[in-house]
């Protein structure tokens, strides 16, 4: 536990000091929220979902913020590799699993904090958090998305030598995961062939879970959401832990 805490602590210290990163990664979902939200609010009709597109979009943007921050946090291990710091950690008499878990929790925490900032800002553009329970449910789903995708980033980083493949991963893996998740549109309004595809995307369940917590309505049963994204977090952590163990010095 103490080792996991040590690694987590380092992540927090680095996070708090990286002002430009904090602002940089809330700006994108915030702009999406403002431009898409206000731009499409009067055009888009959402039958049965409260009708307000901005409120519909907010959980999606919170999830987006968590997703991108966590993948990025996980992939940061490549920097540690390149700047040599990873060696210092790997040669210590501690298990690789502890290091990986510390890194995962550190990344997930930063990601949740980033998502939380979007959440707070959303209050100013129409979000009403009606109950503490709802907020805690949303928070839990944010944490699960954070854990899943930090571990996912670590898994990828364990197999990459440098940052050259980063853009490729972002464009061809992370962005489709985001786009297909129903963060931007209700999945029930999609063409029949596309619906099942969104249901294969683990992030869909995270977004729907947050949406249930924040707005009280979701298109997927929240228990199903919890089971799928919880299971996905577990699988990713195991996979990340497995691949991280095989990193060479």
């Amino acid at each position: 536990m103490d080792i996991i805490y040590t690694i987590w602590l380092r992540n927090m210290k680095r996070y708090i000091r990286s002002k430009s990163r904090i602002i940089g990664s809330i700006s994108m979902p915030l702009f999406f929220l403002l431009f898409l939200g206000f731009g499409l609010n009067s055009v888009v009709q959402l039958p049965g979902l409260g009708g307000n597109y901005i409120v519909f979009l907010i959980p999606g943007m919170v999830a987006m913020s968590v997703l991108f921050t966590s993948v990025f946090s996980g992939i940061q291990i490549i920097w540690d590799k390149q700047f040599g710091f990873l060696k210092e950690t790997l040669v210590a008499p501690v298990s690789r699993l502890e290091i990986m878990l510390g890194q995962t929790l550190g990344g997930a925490t930063t990601a949740v904090l980033q998502g939380f900032m979007i959440l707070v800002l959303s209050v100013f553009i129409g979000l009403h958090i009606s109950s503490l329970t709802g907020f805690l449910i949303a928070f839990m789903f944010m944490a699960l998305i954070g854990i899943s995708f930090t571990a996912f980033g670590i898994a990828i980083a364990s197999r990459m030598e440098d940052m050259t493949g980063f853009q490729l991963i972002m464009n061809f893996v992370v962005f489709p995961i985001f786009g297909l998740s129903g963060a931007l549109f209700p999945i029930s309004s999609l063409p029949a062939w596309m619906g099942p595809v969104t249901l294969l995307d683990p992030l869909t369940y995270g977004v729907e879970g947050i949406r249930y917590g924040l707005t009280g309505v979701s298109q997927v049963n929240p228990l199903v959401c919890f089971a799928v994204i919880g299971g996905f977090a577990l699988v990713m952590t195991v996979l990340g832990g497995f691949l991280f163990r095989k990193i060479k010095f």
Binding site: I3, R10, E88, T89
Partner: protein
């Protein structure tokens, strides 16, 4: 004296390249031991195996009696390492880097704080402890890394090219630290270097490594004495003729190396005029003459027939050819 490190038939292969070739030797407790050789000789591979980062292909080694393959964590607890490349977190302060290390090695909080202060004082970084490492110079970073390597009180400290890329003044400074450390803390230090002066100045004993093998192992003094007396280097357009001409009994050895003849002899000052006269009468051209006490460079040359720099150039060519073969 007790044996700190025992190495037996240690071998490491990378595909068809033998980086460390069946090396055996012992290092005593409290010794500063140098692994000297050109880049690519196998020094870092050797260190990586001893610090459990790399598995040996065959052979074995123990550190304080702990087997490097059977008890990795046991070995890791008893060693400190300063890597060749920097391994600090540049976004953290000096203190935080130390603290991170202390926590990783599970040093209790109060002892950790006390030791960090003590060590930062030792490497004269106490007044910069709350500064981000990014703002540190190369020498300061190195000193911080050495302090960090000592935090968990290892009995063996590995230093991989500790002064690589540092300016002469900082190097001098660091050498003093390392020498003081070994004396005051009584720890065993193993350092790799391709600087002859560094090995000469710091080490109690030196193993000269080339192509993964130990070609000589002794104290710097014995190694240099093995050359015999002084070294006279004569630069000439016809060094071969010099080798042929110098047959006097007081000449221990004379070898041609590029455009130089390298002569080993006792009391060079007394014989130099004789040599010059001899070469003049045979009309052998002399461009310049230099007399010096033997250095480890001469030792390396006498064992390998090459200077350490030529050996490095060769190695690079080999590596390039090797890579090309692998690629095609």
């Amino acid at each position: 004296m007790a044996v700190a490190i025992h190495i037996q038939n240690l071998t490491r292969r990378f595909n068809d390249l033998v980086a460390v070739d069946n090396i055996s030797f012992d290092i005593d407790h409290g010794e500063i031991f140098g692994l000297l050789g050109p880049n690519g000789a196998g020094k870092t591979t050797m260190l990586s195996m001893l610090s459990t980062m790399l598995k040996p292909t065959s052979g074995s080694a123990t550190i304080n009696g702990i087997d490097i393959e059977k008890d990795e964590d046991g070995v890791r607890k008893s060693i400190g390492i300063v890597f060749q490349d920097q391994s600090l977190d540049e976004e953290l302060t000096a203190w935080e880097n130390m603290d991170f290390h202390g926590r990783l090695y599970r040093i209790p909080t109060d002892i950790r704080k006390q030791r960090i202060t003590e060590l930062l004082n030792l490497v004269e970084l106490e007044d910069r402890k709350d500064d981000i490492v990014k703002t540190f110079s190369g020498g300061m970073r190195r000193r911080l890394e050495i302090a960090r390597g000592l935090l968990h009180h290892p009995s063996v400290l590995f230093l991989d090219e500790p002064t690589l890329g540092l300016d002469p003044q900082t190097r001098n400074h660091l050498w003093q630290y390392i020498a003081t450390l070994a004396k005051e803390k009584g720890i065993t230090i193993i350092l790799t270097t391709h600087y002859m002066d560094e090995a000469d100045r710091l080490c109690n004993r030196i193993a000269i490594i080339d192509h993964g093998r130990i070609i000589a192992l002794d104290t710097p003094k014995n190694l240099k004495d093995g050359i015999g007396g002084d070294v006279v280097t004569i630069k000439s357009s016809d060094p071969g003729a010099i080798v042929a001409a110098l047959t006097e009994p007081w000449i221990i050895r004379v070898e041609k190396h590029n455009d130089e003849a390298i002569i080993s002899l006792q009391n060079a000052e007394q014989h130099i005029s004789t040599i010059v006269t001899l070469l003049n009468t045979q009309r052998i051209p002399i461009e310049s003459i230099a007399i010096h006490k033997p250095t480890l460079e001469d030792v390396f040359l006498s064992f390998t027939g090459k200077t350490i720099r030529e050996e490095e150039a060769d190695h690079k060519t080999n590596m390039r050819m090797h890579q090309r073969m692998v690629r095609h």
